[in-house]
Subunit: 335 residues, 2 copies
């Protein structure tokens, strides 16, 4: 049981999801404190039926707060998470600010729950695309280590925040009305289009989202050797990410074996029906806790039997962000 749990970035898309999941999962806490930027301070948001006033993060105190979920952007995490930690709060940070810090555990509770123990006041929540890939791949990796992964993503607007979701809606209305689509939040038209994930591209040609998928997976899996390449793409979907994942294992593995392992895997739901076809789709993953997994098949391009192709969809705001954070807090409470 926590005394006081804070949600920092309470008015954002992930913040909203934290608030609804707190009620849904019955997170044990006596009180809640909501914080956001000055622009959103003063708003009132209900938690479990009780109105809570949103405080200005810059002026608020973390004294007496056990756990704070941060989802207010990397800049605010960098500035305020160390302050909160110094005040004795355990920060569960959804930004990328501390994920690769060797002193900060990067945790997916289905995979590396014990890493929580090593925290020094900050625990990082992985990138959404990383989580959605890692949850179904890890149970296979445990049994038959994955040597290489080639992943292509189909990422929803929610990953760019609530304003991006609203912009996708407005763009769609405009295009249907024969008007030009305005891109203010998103870098380009997303309605009836797609574009390469617009995070900064490094000297190696990979964008930051792709680099996160590579590095964070290695850290979470405790496997610095696993070879990963990713292509990250934003598609006209509201709130669930999908990923086409091609795997090379250490030893031969069959689709039946993969299905058997994933049937019992935590946080995974098999949706792999051929006739009539039923495979993972974003509209079915949205609002669900599990990562949907299907299209499991032997990769015919790897004749040695070590290749598997599969396709996954997972809710970006839930397991990709807020749910994973809540699960981390539940681990802390158990401890």
């Amino acid at each position: 049981m926590f005394e006081n749990v804070a949600i920092v970035g309470a008015t954002g898309a992930v913040g909203e999801e934290f608030i609804s999941l707190i009620a849904e999962r019955g997170l044990k806490a006596k009180r809640f404190t909501l914080m956001a930027s000055a622009r959103s301070a003063g708003k009132s948001i209900n938690i479990r039926g009780e109105p809570h006033k949103v405080l200005d993060l810059a002026k608020a105190s973390f004294d007496g707060i056990d756990v704070a979920f941060f989802s207010a952007g990397g800049g605010r995490s960098k500035e305020f998470a160390p302050k909160a930690a110094a005040a004795g709060t355990v920060v569960v940070d959804n930004s990328s600010a501390f994920r690769m810090d060797p002193n900060v555990p990067l945790v997916v509770p289905e995979i590396n729950p014990d890493d929580v123990k090593n925290h020094r006041g900050i625990i990082a929540n992985p990138n959404c695309s990383t989580i959605i890939m890692a949850v179904p791949v890890y149970p296979l990796h445990r049994v038959n280590p994955v040597k290489r992964m080639v992943v292509s993503t189909y990422q929803a607007a929610s990953g760019a925040g609530m304003s991006a979701m609203l912009e996708l809606e407005q763009q769609s209305r405009d295009v249907l009305a024969g008007k030009p689509a305005q891109a203010k939040v998103l870098p380009f038209q997303l309605a009836f289009n797609l574009f390469s994930h617009n995070s900064a591209v490094g000297d190696d040609g990979y964008n930051e989202e792709e680099t996160k998928m590579v590095r964070e997976t290695r850290k979470i899996f405790h496997d610095a050797q696993i070879a990963i390449t990713a292509t990250c793409v934003r598609v006209a979907v509201m709130r669930a990410h999908s990923e086409a994942i091609n795997l090379t294992f250490s030893r031969p593995i069959t689709p039946d074996e993969v299905r058997r392992i994933l049937t019992d895997a935590p946080g995974v739901r098999l949706v792999d029906q051929r006739n009539p076809q039923h495979y993972p789709m974003p509209i079915e993953a949205a609002g669900r806790d599990e990562i949907l997994v299907g299209r499991i098949r032997q990769d015919i391009s790897q004749p040695d039997g070590r290749g598997i192709d599969m396709f996954v969809s997972g809710d970006q705001l839930r397991k990709g962000a807020a749910l994973n954070g809540i699960q981390i807090a539940e681990l802390l409470d158990k401890k």
Copy 2:
């Protein structure tokens, strides 16, 4: 100069594209004959400003027709293409009916133009996803043979026909109005969603679209050894397909070398700018002849330097279908 060119399936999405490309490219023909199913017979369509009545394919004659572009579905191709060929017509067939027939050339003019010579009355136009992948990969393959390809597609509604494009529009209107999306032509909601390509799934778990990409590429490249795996996905885009392509070459190759080769490659346009970001997008590929190629980078998961990742977009109705067919006819005319 052709005496009489027929467009079979003239009222479909690909048929319409054939008609507009005939004018745009100035295909040399004295007359045009339009055919379609009984349902569309009697309609009038303009070609180069002249009205043409659409004939009922089941009752029409191919006598005197030099070239017929078939895009009326595999069933009609199977029934009527051999009849047309027997009447002396060269059929350029856009369906999958004859593509893997060893007696039928499967031609992408930028890649294997000489195969046209071996026709016995029917020449097959490859699958749209195959063409859009093959055009940018082949120039690289010629210089440094590709050993393996892992491709994930982002396919537009146009691949399922004009009615699917209209349904995507209607579904989008309905979802934006808070109403349920109706899926009559498409198997599922496509608006603000995506789904695994709904062609039949075989015993190996691959759907027909994926199997086409594998087999057709081998036939076009004259390389039965090239290892390919594909995951085909339909996305909420109107008329251009995109593909994330991961390549393993025979020998090390650099992104600069790939860019240099593709700069001079026919049918390809480099769109590969990091700052500000400008990469291939369906709305920019739509209406263009070239396949847009970008995100060219060294695959960090292949430390031997033999791996390249790239992302392409190409107009499904143009280079993916009608344009490739017209180019085949231009080869015939040259001969």
